[in-house]
């Protein structure tokens, strides 16, 4: 078997193991949350009997390990469970499967993340390469200053500034990104313009600076000097000699930022009223809707694991020492 395939399979197996540990951590940290869904729904005035009955209905009267294995067992069969909300004590069960709640939201989140990534990653790499090429120049300093400013500002502030200039003063883009399942593709893109721009401004600095640093770090290498002494142009030196050796650190930072686009954008979602997974999770935590919280947390963990795996694979594929063993 090719060594890369072996490594990937190993990493995948490790990823599943990690996910298992994460599930334990998620489950036990939710156990530590004060109060539970029944108290949150029924309120302070509920009698002990109603609370107990409701708990029994939801299965909350079972010991923690039984509930954990029920959950993880169902999960292994692809069943994320049923949401608590909608199962009021009224007797009518209007609850929905978690997958129906999370699914569309996740789609929205991935849409926004992909759109942002398509803008931000090439932009960051280009700026990083140019900054490395013209390091010390006004361009380099300018790009650094601007990107550092945008990363230093809180996300919501960036969002409001964009809204002020691009929605209120010059109504080019809508300030609300309230899409739903029926919104046509290009309208989605149009409505997501401002959130995507906000997120781009937030993540571009990190990736751009890493690209720049990774390349500059290599510029002192003897093989770069050799390339210069072959009379190659500075652009050629950086693109064909420095960049191919810089992919590993760059891929790691890109993966980290893409993961952030999935798991860390709740503030931006709130500002633009965007129906993403982040908001769903925050709501679920407030109402103690445990199955939804657990599902979201697991999705977030899986996102990190998958993206890091991708970054690892890129590091391996771009390293001839690993790709072509002696």
């Amino acid at each position: 078997m090719h060594p890369i395939l072996t490594t990937v399979l190993q990493r995948l197996a490790l990823g599943v193991l990690t996910l298992f540990f994460v599930s334990v951590i998620i489950f036990s940290s939710i156990e530590f949350l004060p109060g539970d869904f029944t108290e949150a729904v029924l309120g302070q005035t509920a009698t002990e009997e109603t609370v107990a009955a409701f708990r029994r209905e939801l299965g909350l009267d079972q010991p923690a390990y039984v509930r954990y294995f029920d959950w993880i067992g169902a999960l292994a069969q692809g069943d994320l469970g049923t949401s608590f909300s909608g199962r009021a004590s009224s007797g009518i069960d209007r609850s929905r499967p978690v997958i129906d709640l999370v699914g569309p939201r996740l789609e929205n989140t991935l849409f926004l993340a992909t759109m942002t990534a398509i803008i931000a990653v090439p932009l960051a790499l280009t700026l990083g390469i140019l900054a490395a090429l013209y390091r010390g120049s006004i361009f380099d300093r300018g790009v650094n200053a601007v990107t550092l400013t945008t990363i230093a500002m809180p996300e919501f502030l960036v969002a409001y500034i964009l809204i002020l200039f691009l929605a209120s003063l010059n109504p080019i883009f809508p300030s609300l990104a309230n899409i739903n399942a029926d919104t046509p593709f290009w309208e989605r893109v149009y409505k997501c313009a401002l959130p995507a721009m906000t997120l781009t401004l937030v993540i571009v600095a990190h990736m751009m600076r890493m690209t720049r640093a990774a390349i500059i770090n290599l510029l002192a290498s003897p093989y770069i000097e050799m390339a210069r002494l072959k009379g190659l142009s500075p652009r050629n030196v950086i693109l064909t000699h420095a960049l191919p050796n810089a992919w590993a650190p760059i891929a790691n930072v890109v993966a980290f930022n893409l993961a952030y686009l999935v798991v860390g954008v709740v503030v931006v979602e709130v500002v633009f009223v965007y129906p993403g997974v982040g908001q769903l999770m925050v709501d679920a935590v407030t109402t103690r809707d445990i199955p939804v919280v657990q599902a979201c947390a697991l999705i977030f963990a899986a996102t990190y694991i998958v993206l890091n795996l991708l970054a690892d694979i890129i590091s391996i594929v771009t390293n001839p020492r690993l790709l072509h063993p002696r």
Binding site: Y223, K230, G231, R326
Partner: protein, 543 residues
């Protein structure tokens, strides 16, 4: 100016930036080179050889600036033309061969792509033609499987092969001038011979002019028609190679091969302080040592000789307990040492100390000399406070430094001083045996001499036993009593220096000794011819 003058550098002044200001590195050196001629530039590190060599390409490393002077190359003053014009000359008319081929090849690209890169970038020939040409160059360089070796990545070929591939790379665009910057310094002697021969052959075949930079006078004697000696950025003297070798004028030039003049009479003793008995060792499942037995007489120096991969350093690791042997034992004063470091008592640890090749990395850069030497004094001898200071100061005097060094950091010391501090640190434990692992390899000839003399003095005064690991035969000649020749994890030969250095030799010893360049300019031809008869040459040189 004569017709066939290719390069004429006039009154070159080059500054380097350090300590927040510019200092002159090259102070008005001039240099002339005819077409097809090879000029040797020689001097110790810091003499400005590489800087001057790169200046011939009008190239300055970061922190270097060409301040004044003229660089006439084929009728153009490189100082006056634009950077784009200079770029057009580099790689096409003037090429460079770097010291470490392993570092100078880009790990991300195949050899062939890198070999023909300059030819393509300068439009010398088409990709297909250049690739065909590269294959014939590989063949000329005596590389194995010249048709396919270009498709390998740098990490897939050996150091000696890389160095040849780099010469092929420099040749690709058929430059008029090649700068060889210490191209064989990083190679084993047996590999060096073949690489030198291949380079000499290539230069002759294409009538390429060359500047050959090295600190090894014997190597330059093989390569150069003329030799220029540099020191502190100034020319010491210049002469035809024969003239320079037979009749150097300046005292400094004579001192350059001073280490070759140290000779210590060999003595032996039957009182063995350390005995390595039938040791077999492996890294994981890779066997490294096979049934190695070495006896080390008390108060004497045993030199362990061999090239990289021969198991010299692994033997040291077994003795120090860093690598427990699979079989066999190490006896110290007749008692077996526990195989693992963890199993050894403090006293056993104290009796065997080490000095390393790279003094730079062997010391904590954040510790002062006082801390570096004081630490083993406290740890092994249990001294405290003022007693430590007194002992550290005593040790500094022993290694011929004074108390002014106490509060300096390693970064503030020269290479030779750093190695002295490492020696003091080893002495601080008051050991019986010191293992010296290539301790002079990273140092200049003149500094080497100082360190070797110091080690010999210390042995005489303190009766310390040395195990001296090296690949440098000149060093072995200088200081050893007994010699152990290692090859591929086995002891090939062991005995008194005078016996080993006298014929008849076992095959490998012969190869090793015949690979050491001598000052005779005709040596290379003879050595190459002799080695064709030795069947093991390829295996050992390129394994």
């Amino acid at each position: 100016m004569s017709e066939d003058l290719l390069l004429h550098m006039k009154d070159i002044v080059i500054d380097g930036f350090s300590d927040e200001q510019w200092h002159p590195i090259i102070k008005g050196v001039s240099l002339e080179l005819k077409r097809g001629e090879v000029l040797g530039l020689i001097g110790e590190s810091g003499a400005g050889k590489s800087t001057l060599g790169l200046a011939a390409m009008a190239f300055g490393r970061p922190g270097i600036r060409l301040t004044s002077g003229e660089i006439w190359f084929d009728g153009k003053d490189l100082m006056k033309i634009s950077e784009a014009e200079r770029q057009a000359l580099r790689g096409s008319r003037i090429a460079y061969v770097a010291q470490s081929a392993a570092a100078a090849f880009n790990p991300a690209h195949r050899l062939l792509d890198q070999t023909i890169e300059a030819s393509l970038a300068h439009g010398v020939r088409s990709a297909a033609e250049a690739a065909e040409d590269a294959k014939s160059l590989y063949a000329a360089m005596d590389l194995p499987d010249p048709k396919n070796i270009g498709f390998r990545y740098p990490h897939q070929v050996s150091g000696g092969q890389l160095q040849r591939a780099m010469t092929a790379m420099a040749m690709s665009a058929r430059p008029d001038l090649i700068i060889f910057d210490e191209p064989t310094t990083a190679l084993d002697v047996t590999t060096q011979v073949n690489v030198l021969a291949a380079m000499r052959e290539a230069v002759d075949r294409f009538n390429t002019a060359a500047i050959y930079i090295t600190h090894d006078l014997a190597v330059v004697a093989q390569m150069a028609d003329r030799i220029k000696v540099l020191r502190y950025g100034e020319e010491v003297e210049e002469a035809e190679t024969q003239e320079m070798l037979s009749n150097p004028k300046e005292a400094y030039t004579k001192s350059l091969w001073a280490v070759r003049s140290i000779q210590k009479p060999a003595e032996t003793s039957d009182d063995y302080v350390l005995e390595i008995k039938n040791v077999t060792a492996a890294y994981g499942t890779v066997p490294v040592l096979h049934d190695v037995s070495i006896s080390v007489p008390r108060g004497k120096t045993v030199a362990v000789v061999g090239e990289s991969g021969s198991g010299k350093s692994t033997t040291a690791r077994v003795v120090t307990g860093l690598l427990p042997p699979k079989e066999g034992a190490v006896l110290f004063n007749g008692t077996p040492l526990p195989p693992e470091l963890k199993g050894r008592s403090k006293d056993q640890l104290q009796r065997i100390q080490m000095i390393y090749q790279m003094a730079d990395t062997a010391m904590n850069p954040r510790h002062t000399v006082r801390e570096i030497i004081g630490r083993p004094v406290e740890f092994y001898l249990g001294l405290k406070g003022r007693a430590v200071d007194a002992r550290v100061s005593e040790l500094l005097h022993l290694i011929e430094l004074d108390d002014s060094f106490l509060d300096r950091y390693p970064g503030e010391l020269s290479g030779g001083q750093k190695q002295r501090i490492c020696i003091a640190r080893a002495l601080a434990a008051e050991p019986e045996v010191i293992i010296c692992d290539e301790v002079t390899s990273a140092l200049d000839q003149v500094v080497q001499e100082g360190i070797l003399k110091l080690l010999m003095k210390l042995q005489k005064e303190l009766g310390i036993t040395y195990i001296f690991i090296t690949h440098d035969i000149a060093t072995v000649q200088a200081i050893s009593d007994e010699i152990v020749v290692m090859w591929m994890g086995k002891v090939v030969e062991q005995g008194m220096k005078d016996e080993i250095m006298q014929p008849p030799y076992p095959e490998y010893t012969e190869l090793l000794l015949s690979s050491v360049p001598t000052m005779d300019p005709g040596w290379l031809k003879g050595a190459v011819a002799a080695r064709k008869e030795l069947s093991i040459a390829e295996q050992t040189g390129e394994a």
